[in-house]
Amino acid sequence: MTHSVSAKRVGSIATGRSGDKGDVLDLTIVAYNEKDYALLSRFLSVERVTDALARVAPSPVERHELPKLRALKFVAPRALPGGVQASLHAGLHWQKAAAALLLELPLPMEEQE
């Protein structure tokens, strides 16, 4: 099967959700089959996710692989200093949309075969 040359993003092959507890931001990405889980496991490295987050909420990132669930879990322990209440964002809870930081990442063409 050939893919179109238009850029695919992580969100074309996976779903995601973000949450917070205290000053910790967490992001989950779930793939729909083994092949895409393997692809995302390669692509969403700690370095790449740290870079994606750095533009918004600089923090070290921990990564957990959950192959049985075809899920990747990223935890950024210092992304929300002081917790949600201390945020300067309009409406405070911007992190409910933070999964977009990963879902919007374009997949490299060689990974789209």
Binding site: S12, G16, G22, V24, D26, H64, K73, A86, E104
Partner: protein, 441 residues
């Protein structure tokens, strides 16, 4: 004595304080659930409740108590148990209010238990805090209680259990654990199911967009059904919707919710057990029906988590001003730069956030590029201020743009928030005694 049941059906009636009322009422009317748990206590809600209690010692529970429970208790009566943390900062007063409300609602003579003991405001010095707490004023401190006091209340015949701060997974697990027993796998299954159910619609199709699949329609979202879990004695569970209710329960959604707000999926700490989610498997067994197996529990933690709220000096001023029409984006950017120039003369740039609502206020520098000029947008400013005078100065600088800034701006809105930080701590569990206060006493 008869054998305990082999299946227990627990419904998710609410996932936060402001959640919809009717999903739980529909669940109760269906007559197919044994208990409904309603998670109604976020950090923000608890802080508001603590402030209310400070003003009036008889308050401090969720102000939506009547709106939420009058229709629900009228539908449940004694047929279906109800558990909720809407007691917030005053579960004993809430239990008395619920007891009175149940009689008025025609629900009968309900036994309403208030679980007391999570409030550690007078003992902050005994808690091992994970961050420095000097220089702030304590608003409150609450331990996350586990299932034990709720199971005790149910064993004493409670129809309704009202708590303050308890772990969300424990709030949903208490009734099935009481009914089925405390076997190891069943406890792990009950807590894992509780963790899944505690965000209501987020398990049944809310906050879920999937590649290649249309979102639910507005009509479906508007009356989305909340999930119920059928827990088996072996700790496995079926997650499903009530017959005929719109929503989406699938493997991807269950997986997202399993890992939601979890930091170590192999060691998710609840007051009752450390859970290992890495062996969980979900299987779609029918439309809007997913079976969960593989729940595992490790040891019970020796310490309870505590959440403390510290008021820092000063406040946050939060103001927006709108621009519309041709060139709105350029004028808004101009205004944002004016504000930066003006405000950094008075305060540190690190205490300021200036962005454009409609462009980059949520994801900042990672926002998608603009595809076209927006017809309108808002400049947003938030500033940490040492006192009200400085907050007034920030507000005035934004208003002044309407006269001395780019053309055609207006629709200013502003708010002031106290500066509150949430601090995590721990305390040995034996140092947190609990007791029941009955609504009729």
């Amino acid at each position: 004595m008869s054998n305990p049941p082999t299946t227990y059906v627990i419904g998710s009636g609410a996932g936060f304080a402001g959640d919809r009322i009717e999903p739980a009422v529909n669940m109760a009317r269906s007559g197919t659930v044994d208990a409904i748990a309603l998670e109604c206590l976020a950090e923000r809600t608890l802080i508001a409740a603590l402030r209310n209690r400070q003003a009036n010692a008889q308050t401090g529970y969720d102000p939506r108590l009547r709106r939420r429970l009058a229709p629900l208790l009228a539908a449940t009566g004694k047929r279906c148990r109800v558990l909720s943390n809407l007691g917030a900062a005053n579960p004993a007063a809430a239990a008395r209010a619920v007891r009175k409300l149940a009689a008025e609602a025609g629900a009968g003579d309900l036994r309403v238990a208030g679980v007391v003991g999570d409030d550690l405001a007078n003992r902050v010095g005994e808690i091992e805090w994970m961050e420095p707490t000097a220089g702030g004023e304590w608003i409150g401190a609450h331990a996350y209680l586990g299932i034990d006091p709720m199971v005790e209340a149910l064993a004493a015949g409670a129809d309704v259990v009202i708590t303050g701060r308890v772990a969300d997974s424990s709030l949903f697990a208490a009734a099935p654990v009481h009914a089925i027993g405390l076997e190891h796998a069943a406890l792990a299954g009950a807590l894992t199911l509780g963790h899944l159910l505690e965000c209501s619609g987020q398990l049944s199709g809310g906050n879920l967009s999937e590649p290649g699949v249309p979102d639910l329609t507005p009509e479906e979202y508007a009356r989305i059904g909340y999930p119920v879990g059928e827990l088996q004695r072996d700790g496995s569970a079926l997650i499903r919707l009530l017959d005929g209710e719109p929503g989406r329960i699938n493997v991807a959604g269950c997986t997202l919710q399993l890992l939601y707000e979890v930091h170590d999926p192999r060691a998710y700490i609840t007051p009752d057990a450390v859970l290992d989610f890495s062996g969980i498997e979900f299987e779609q067994t029918g439309p809007n029906r997913v079976r969960m197996t593989g729940a595992r529990a490790l040891a019970r933690p020796e310490r309870l988590k505590v959440i403390g709220f510290l008021a820092r000096r000063g406040l946050v001023a939060d103001i927006e001003i709108a621009f519309a029409g041709t060139g709105a984006l350029a004028r808004a950017r101009n205004a944002a730069e004016i504000l930066r120039l003006r405000l950094t003369r008075e305060m540190n740039e690190s205490d300021l956030r200036i962005d454009l609502v409609g462009v980059n206020s949520v994801l900042g520098a990672a926002s998608l590029p603009l595809a076209a000029e927006p017809p309108e947008l808002r400049v947003h400013v938030s500033a940490r201020c040492d006192d009200a005078q400085i907050a007034q100065m920030v507000e005035d600088e934004v208003y002044t743009l309407t006269i001395s800034g780019p053309a055609a701006c207006g629709s200013v809105r502003s708010e002031r928030r106290p500066r509150i930080e949430s601090i995590t701590g721990f305390i040995p569990r034996e140092r947190v005694p609990t007791h029941i206060e009955w609504g009729h006493e």
